[in-house]
Symmetry: C2
Subunit: 256 residues, 2 copies
């Protein structure tokens, strides 16, 4: 091989539809296009981009599948710019779980990490309103124990949601949302039909109260520890014995 000239990797030609996607994505990222605003009609876009309608449509379908815009047949205002949503992230995360055979143990480990960290941060950053919001969700949980698993689960989710918000970290919030959804979609029916579900719910409520008290006391490490332990108690039964190592590591090791 001769030295001297350095060659760059050649890249395949960029498809036309891709450039259209890029332009619109950039416009949204720049803020030129805000949620709720409308894109010109397809035929108008054809004129502006100088491409054919199928090409423009390919671009719109990609944007649509990414959750950036939505087209409705007959709408004279044109495609709508959608507000940001974590739907795409959720889809990708779910894909990861399906194709990359992520195990239940990994999923729950991750949830313990996220939820523990959310509690830790919430303990330091929570406002008074957030504290009372947490209290309200606990009250709803208490009432829901008799209403059945469905209701209880909804209130449970709401509590964790408030905690995640109080952590002031939207990455934690979104990832937690996604992982929680993935876990529930895998075993919610098992939980619903657990023989001793009332006892489980009661215990879970108790744990949640402890977490809340730790957050109120601004004791982050305790809040984190209790959160993780709660999740462990609640879910460990659904993880094979030989995969429980990581879960135990998360419960034990942070204790002092």
């Amino acid at each position: 091989m001769s030295d001297g000239a350095q060659f760059r990797q050649v890249s395949p030609p960029v498809r036309l539809y891709q450039r259209i996607v890029e332009q619109i994505e950039e416009a949204i990222a720049r803020g030129d296009l805000k949620p709720g605003q409308r894109l010109p009609s397809e035929r108008e876009l054809v004129a502006q981009f100088g491409a054919s309608r199928p090409t423009v449509r390919e671009a719109l379908r990609v944007l649509e599948s990414n959750g950036l815009v939505r087209s409705r047949q007959g709408d004279p205002n044109g495609p709508e710019i959608l507000p940001f949503s974590s739907a795409g992230l959720t889809k990708e995360m779910t894909r990861l779980v399906q194709f990359d055979n992520v195990s239940m143990a990994e999923l729950i480990s991750f949830r313990m990490i996220l939820d523990g960290s959310a509690s830790l941060l919430a303990a330091r950053l929570r406002s008074e309103e957030e504290l009372s919001a947490m209290e309200r969700t606990l009250a709803v949980m208490a009432d829901a124990i008799e209403a059945g698993y469905e209701e209880f689960s909804k209130a449970d989710v709401a509590f964790h949601e408030v905690v995640a918000q109080a952590s002031r970290n939207s990455l934690i919030e979104v990832c937690n949302l996604v992982v929680r959804g993935a876990v529930l979609s895998l075993i919610s029916d098992k939980l619903a039909h657990a023989p001793n579900s009332t006892a489980l719910m009661r215990e879970s409520l108790h744990h949640h109260r402890e977490v809340l008290e730790a957050i109120r006391a601004q004791d982050g490490p305790a809040a984190a520890r209790i959160s993780r332990r709660d999740l462990y108690d609640y879910y460990a039964g659904y993880v094979p014995e030989n995969e429980q190592g990581p879960l135990l590591a998360l419960v034990d090791d942070e204790e002092t």
Copy 2:
């Protein structure tokens, strides 16, 4: 309003291209289509799905943008099924950072959480080979200090990669990858031109060694603590003073 009959919400009709996407996605999820295999040609798919070519193409463009398949013009074998990649997740996560204005502080907090947890788990689960792989990357880092920031950063990334793998949790691995990429893409040039970059690199290397020793000693909490502190020292300078609270919470609170 009369009571009696209850009506369900009507859902918008599912677009044709969407159903094609679903079918192909399912086939991949089921394992009927494995990476490396080929899809029939567009014209063949047109026949099989009974849809027109533009419609089939819309579906293929969506799959392509999601990283599931790749089409190459002229390839007589048809579109290729791609192996799973976290590219889609990365894209979504990047979108989250861009559109949902995630701050540098949030990004680094999240990185501290992920990396700390990875170290914690790695301390318990690491194999001997992984330990020596970590050692090798540290050796490369040491050599790279003089070669400049570029090389050093690459070795640095490799170390964290090995640790993440040793945590045996692909969710941590992927999220860490993504967040690391996002952070670096935001400030890698600043790091590269830091006035005292050599000193910084030397200190970072020292911290990494400490992490490795904690992992070797199977002391998870220590490994996690040191990981977080290392990241804090390395990146805190790029976070505004008034946003450092969460970072400090992650560094301090877990110490005992």
